[in-house]
């Protein structure tokens, strides 16, 4: 087991390096020039050059990458071009909010979808299976920014039952409704797609396991149905966990639209602001951190899967 963990950790290093290279390069491939957004359109060439030198933008790209990487390695992401504040601090502040939103959404989605998928998978082809599949398809197909806006109109504008946007304060307090109420609409919106995807994965995993020969053996040995189901779920869990990990990673970086709709001060919101202002240090730092979280999530899911299914460790 230990050697498996070590192997997986070593394999993650080149992935992380590759990710850092891609997100460094992507920003330079994108159209637009950060210097131009900082300066008035009629700025002279000398000012442009001076500013480029100041931010190190005049040096060759590989050098820029290496020096950026060296600073990033010690947690220095540079300063935001737009606000002048350290990028690390901006990321830290927004990332916590996004982690909160994403983990609550994924956990709730998992709890609901796993039950739904299990029920449907045990009775594949029945009417209840069709209902679950219908809900799952609906969840995946609804554009979540649209759903967010509709929910705001209904619950915040018309019913005035829940706040439309933002957070209660800098520090989140999970025991107070004042703080929790801000989570309700964004979490509901964000969990729709994971519910659909996790429910469908669970359904197919459970129905596949229930058709396997060992299920007959378990019944032939007089195990009650709930124990048979326990065996089946342990077998069905690894692929579901993999999908859940991917969904968490996606929500960490992909909730840009939903965070913007709800003005949730998270990393998606930060990213969208950075994109609009061509704030390259913020963009690079945020993307890198999100990508590393994605890699780390997959690593954790892999390790978790291998404790559930011993056959994975051999591969």
């Amino acid at each position: 087991m230990f050697s498996y963990i070590l192997r997986r950790l070593l394999a993650a290093i080149p992935i992380a390096l590759g990710v850092s290279m891609v997100c460094f390069a992507l920003v330079y491939l994108a159209p637009g020039d950060p210097i131009q957004t900082l300066l008035p359109p009629d700025a002279d060439a000398e000012t442009v050059d001076r500013l480029k030198r100041l931010y190190g933008l005049d040096r060759p790209l590989p050098i820029q990458y290496l020096s950026w990487l060296a600073r990033v390695a010690v947690g220095d992401f540079g300063r935001s071009i737009a606000t002048g504040r350290p990028v690390a601090e901006e990321i830290r502040r927004s990332l916590g909010n996004t982690v909160l939103l994403a983990s609550v959404s994924v956990l709730i989605a998992f709890s609901i979808a796993f039950v739904m998928g299990t029920i449907a998978g045990r009775r594949a082809g029945s009417w209840i299976d069709r209902i679950v599949t219908g809900i799952a398809v609906l969840g995946v197909s609804l554009p979540n920014y649209w759903l967010g806006i509709v929910l705001v109109i209904i619950f915040a504008v018309e019913l005035m039952a829940l706040p439309a946007s933002g957070m209660a304060g800098e520090r989140f307090d999970p025991t107070s409704w004042e703080h929790l109420q801000f989570l309700v609409l964004p979490v509901f919106t964000l969990s729709m797609i994971p519910v659909g995807i996790i429910a469908r994965t669970t359904r197919s995993a459970v129905s596949e396991v229930m058709n396997q020969e060992f299920i007959v053996t378990l019944r032939a040995n007089g195990l009650p149905e709930w124990r048979v189901l326990r065996h089946a779920l342990k077998n069905a869990l690894p692929p579901v966990l993999a999908v859940m990990g991917l969904q968490f990673g996606t929500l960490m970086g992909g909730s840009i639209l939903v965070e913007t709709v709800f003005a949730w001060p998270g990393s998606g919101y930060l990213l969208s602001k950075a994109i609009l202002t061509r704030d390259i240090p913020v963009l690079q730092g945020t993307i890198l951190v999100l990508a590393l979280i994605f890699v780390a999530t997959n690593l954790i899911v892999d390790l978790f899967q291998s404790t559930l299914d011993p056959r994975i460790r051999r591969g």
Partner: protein, 328 residues
């Protein structure tokens, strides 16, 4: 006179789907005494495995219709509720499956799988169940038994897996063991070891065994009695020596002729011409008639009734004389 352990009376199994209705087992009857070993012989699709599963009501309830009577150890299996059924399965009757790789839960250690069943039926702790599993592993001759308890199914060889499967089946000392082609998936050398082990355990524990196989050699090795199945019916039963020496039914004779034994070299093996019938459209008469060398016009009209030309021997064939003069 002891009571029979198994009484099966006119058992039929239909698989019902939207498109078709297949009669996989068609009026099977037999009885077994305690301690008896019976071989069910027949080719793939003849209804051997389905009969076994019907005995434990393991067939999918929605898609299969079972009719006829099944009594095991004095209890009517058809009338059992879920609870009684669970108490019977694994305790009074247990089953060994053909493919030990897929018959174990792949993500649970084999020792724990056995312990779970023991704990369930005996009402003991999981720990006590594992101690029992260790004894069972010694019983079925698994080397380094202690270590093997912690193995996952994929970590065992085919032979060891099947031994572990036997240990699981014997864990609660069943009165009836249903062995569904337990050696088919194994290497030839391992097959013989497992067969010898099963025969030895049967003699020691005195249980009844129904041994499903398509291998005549296996039948000769292990059985007291043989039942030959063809197209969902038992076409012949009898004591193993008599049946193998002087087969009554042309199908049994054909099976014997098509196996390797003492034929002279350089001679091609005989085969039974044709193929088994389509189970969705069985012919009205004898199912074997289209392939039978002794077929006559009367064979195509009605299903031959069972006739018994000698004590203990029964065949369903019109060409078999009802009773031979010397037994009359």
């Amino acid at each position: 006179m002891t009571a029979p352990l198994v009484e099966v009376e006119n058992l039929s199994v239909n698989f019902v789907t939207r498109e078709s209705n297949v009669t996989a087992v068609n009026g099977v009857s037999f009885t077994m005494m305690p301690g008896e070993v019976m071989c069910m012989l027949g080719e793939s699709g003849s209804g051997k495995s389905v009969t076994m599963r019907a005995l434990m009501r393991l067939l999918p309830e929605k898609r299969s219709v079972i009719t006829g009577g099944i009594r095991i150890a004095g209890q009517d299996v058809q009338a059992m509720n879920d609870r009684a059924l669970r108490q019977m399965r694994g305790a009074t009757v247990s089953m060994i499956f053909q493919e030990p790789m897929t018959a174990f839960d792949p993500v649970v250690r084999v020792g724990d799988q056995i312990a779970e069943v023991v704990a369930l039926h005996r009402g003991v702790s999981h720990k006590a169940g594992r101690r029992r599993a260790l004894d069972l592993f010694d019983l079925v001759r698994i080397p380094s038994a202690e270590r093997r308890l912690d193995a996952y199914p994929h970590e065992l060889s085919g032979g060891l897996r099947q031994r572990a499967m036997i240990a699981l089946a014997l864990s609660c000392e069943p009165k009836l063991l249903l062995a569904d082609e337990p050696t088919t998936a194994l290497d030839a050398t391992v097959q013989i070891q497992v067969l010898i082990l099963l025969r030895k355990l049967q003699q020691e524990m005195g249980m009844s065994v129904i041994f499903v196989t398509h291998d005549l050699g296996v039948a000769a090795e292990i059985a007291d009695r043989v039942a030959v199945m063809y197209a969902g019916r038992i076409v012949e039963t009898g004591p193993v020596r008599d049946l193998l020496r002087t087969p009554l039914h042309p199908y049994t004779a054909g099976l014997l002729a098509s196996t390797v034994h003492d034929q002279p070299r350089d001679r091609d093996l005989e085969t039974i011409p044709g193929a088994p019938p389509d189970m969705r459209r069985l012919p009205p008469g004898c199912s074997f008639a289209p392939r039978c060398p002794k077929v006559g016009g009367d064979c195509l009209l009605t299903v031959p009734p069972p006739v018994s030309p000698a004590p203990g021997r029964v065949a369903r064939c019109l060409r078999v004389p009802a009773a031979q003069p010397e037994f009359a």
